[in-house]
């Protein structure tokens, strides 16, 4: 894993105290923290750093004041938006809770005043989620690459195998010999890098969900 890559925490809040406290918190946890009082400075920051974050697969989390969230998301590169958890903060409890009902892509809400301990725990969970997202993305990538290498006939055989058909039945369905079915099947396992039928079924599922199965 890319343990060496530094975690990046972006904070946007008009309350200077939040920026300072999170910078302190992040420092203690070995993160690199960037604080912004308004979302206006963010597009420039992305232009300079987004490329690097994406290529290095840097774990990025965002802590955003509820008021600035929309503006931040508008400038956030899509590739990062997909995998970067957002922690939403604010002082207006009522507004925060109605906001919570409206936006599903926020990882967590913390109402001010939150304790530093609570924030630290949320950040750990957020980076954990980020790693999970990143891992899932990697798995998906490798599955997609594997399936892309299959021939048309191998793809056909794979589709029948994951339906649970026996080799004999497959040979009847496709009108090929049992030996050929076995050979295709071995190729499928090798190219997708799976070791068992169960793994193959799971990978096939991911491949289908990624929208490239048909």
């Amino acid at each position: 894993m890319d343990q060496a890559v530094e975690k990046i925490l972006l904070v946007v809040d008009e309350e200077m105290s939040s920026l300072k406290a999170l910078a302190r918190l992040g420092r203690q946890a070995g993160m690199r923290v960037y604080g912004f009082e308004t979302p206006a400075a963010l597009p420039a920051w992305w232009r300079e750093n987004a490329e690097k974050c994406i290529s290095q697969r840097a774990p990025v989390c965002l802590v955003l004041d509820m008021k600035s969230q929309a503006a931040v998301l508008a400038s956030l590169p899509a590739e990062l938006a997909r995998i970067s958890p957002i922690v939403c903060i604010g002082r207006d409890a009522a507004a925060l809770s109605s906001h919570q009902r409206l936006s599903a892509d926020v990882f967590a809400y913390l109402e001010k005043p939150f304790s530093l301990q609570a924030m630290a725990e949320v950040l750990v969970a957020a980076f954990h989620e980020q790693a999970r997202q990143l891992g899932a993305q990697r798995a998906e990538d490798s599955v997609r690459q594997g399936f892309a290498r299959l021939t048309r006939r191998e793809t056909e055989v794979c589709g029948l195998v994951v339906q649970g058909l026996q080799n004999k039945v497959i040979s009847d369905v496709l009108g090929i010999t049992l030996k050929t079915v076995k050979a295709h099947r071995a190729k499928v396992m090798a190219k997708t890098g799976v070791r068992s039928l169960a793994d193959l079924i799971r990978a096939h599922d991911i491949w289908l969900r990624a929208g490239e199965g048909k």
């Binding site: 309350e15 200077m16 105290s17 300072k20 406290a21 302190r24 002082r91 001010k112 005043p113 939150f114 304790s115 530093l116 301990q117």
Partner: protein, 448 residues
């Protein structure tokens, strides 16, 4: 009475401000028709006679109904509710209290016969009362409605939150589960900085605790009293659950209350003068009551003690001529009471009081000592002159019959104040002289 007039000026009666054109609709009329009628007549409610009860359908009901996306063809009776009623002679404050306690906005106004004669709305009432009169009723909740407050938990680092302390009146409230546990003011920060204390410490280690908290429902006056008693400048305001909702400072409160007083004085100067006049005359009456005997209107013992003390003081300080005291008792007063009744007895007491008063100098003090006993304080009077006065009084009373031709005699003990003794000692000597006069056969004077 004057007090009535005062009330009138500050708070009109409900009848005075009621809308008297009542707008009735049939219970089966559709809501759309009620709405049209309200619009045409420029009123905010219509009335419906329903099952012997008066119901009201208001603009608010209409909006609520419309917001629910319902059909205007529905009968108006389905969306109406019974209207609260109040007598037209009631003051608007009573109406206000009624509406606030029931969370209503409309009241039916009825005359003495219970006949509905008008409608009064919450808005009508507020408009009729000078806002300054409402100060006493204003609560903290209304004052802090727009006040932002910075709260943090105790683990936040002082250095990080300094940015919220700009002005002298700023403060940071430290909370735990939203309840206030400490406070840090700009002044506290100054103190820490001046002392060179480290600032990278948790708020919990530098906050002031406990915090003076006040309820949202507290009145401005109550909070001012609290701040004064604790000698602090601000109070944290909490809601029913004890959770922080804001901060009020003394200057805010004073400014608010003072501003209201200024307005009150500006617009109601004559009423205030009247009110002050009433209070003063009442105070004078109380003062008088505390110092006089209700039956005879003479001074009471308390006054005698006071003036006797002053006389002693005067004699000691200036070594002027001394003063004397006479103690008078009606002979066989019990017999008068038993023969003629207590009313006549009282009359005799009053008459004796008048006679004694008519025979003394302006500077002398006549006192009802209690029961059938009277006392006279005689400034600048030596023993001889005092005895002479007592003798004259004794003879005058015996010579002139009282009311209903009742013969009354009195016995008198008299003595002069001897320097250095107490007032109590003088009383005792005069009392024993009186006893002497009684024992010697009454209707006479004895000196001590």
């Amino acid at each position: 009475m004057a007090e009535e007039g005062l009330n009138f000026a500050l708070f009109p009666s409900v009848g005075e401000i009621a809308q008297r054109q009542l707008c009735w609709v049939k219970p089966e009329a559709p809501i759309s028709e009620a709405a049209r009628l309200m619009h045409e007549r420029g009123v905010s409610s219509v009335l419906i006679q329903r099952a012997g009860q008066v119901h009201v359908f208001t603009v608010e009901d209409l909006l609520h109904f419309t917001a629910a996306g319902r059909d205007g063809d529905v009968r108006v009776e389905g969306a109406s509710h019974p209207v609260l009623r109040i007598g037209e002679d009631e003051r608007v404050l009573a109406a206000l209290e009624m509406l606030e306690s029931r969370h209503e906005r409309y009241l039916g106004v009825e005359d003495g016969a219970g006949e509905l004669v008008g409608v009064v709305t919450y808005t009508d009432i507020l408009a009729s009362i000078d806002p300054s009169v409402l100060v006493e009723r204003k609560t903290i909740g209304e004052l802090i409605a727009r006040n932002a407050v910075y709260t943090f938990t105790a683990d936040w680092i002082l250095e990080d939150v300094l940015c919220h302390l700009h002005r002298l009146e700023d403060a940071i409230i430290v909370v735990e589960a939203r309840r206030p546990i400490g406070i840090l003011t700009t002044k506290d920060l100054f103190r820490l900085v001046a002392a060179g204390s480290p600032l990278d410490v948790p708020l919990g280690s530098v906050m002031t605790t406990p915090v003076a908290a006040t309820q949202l429902a507290a009145t401005i006056n109550e909070v001012l009293v609290l701040l004064k008693a604790r000698q602090i400048k601000r109070a944290v305001v909490v809601d029913e659950a004890g959770e922080v909702v804001g901060v009020v400072t003394q200057s805010q409160l004073v400014g608010f209350a003072y501003g209201s007083w200024v307005n009150l004085i500006k617009y109601h100067a004559s009423e205030l003068r009247e009110l002050v006049g009433i209070l003063e005359s009442k105070a004078r009456a109380y003062e008088q009551e505390a110092r006089t005997d209700p039956l005879t209107g003479l001074a009471n013992r308390r006054q005698l003690q006071e003036q006797g003390g002053q006389e002693i003081e005067r004699v000691r300080r200036y070594a002027t001529s001394s003063f004397s005291m006479a103690l008078i008792d009606i002979d066989f007063f019990k017999r008068i009471n038993d023969t003629y009744g207590h009313l006549v007895g009282d009359r005799v007491l009053q008459e004796l009081g008048e006679r004694v008063s008519s025979l003394v100098r302006k500077t002398d003090l006549v006192v009802r000592w209690g029961g059938e006993e009277f006392a006279v304080l005689l400034p600048h009077t030596d023993a001889h002159a005092a005895a002479e006065f007592a003798e004259r009084l004794c003879q005058h009373v015996a010579a002139t019959p009282f009311h209903a031709n009742i013969a009354v005699t009195i016995s008198i003990g008299v003595s002069v104040y001897r320097g250095e003794e107490s007032l109590q000692a003088l009383f005792e000597r005069v009392d024993s002289a009186l006893y002497e006069a009684k024992r010697a056969g009454r209707n006479r004077v004895a000196s001590a």
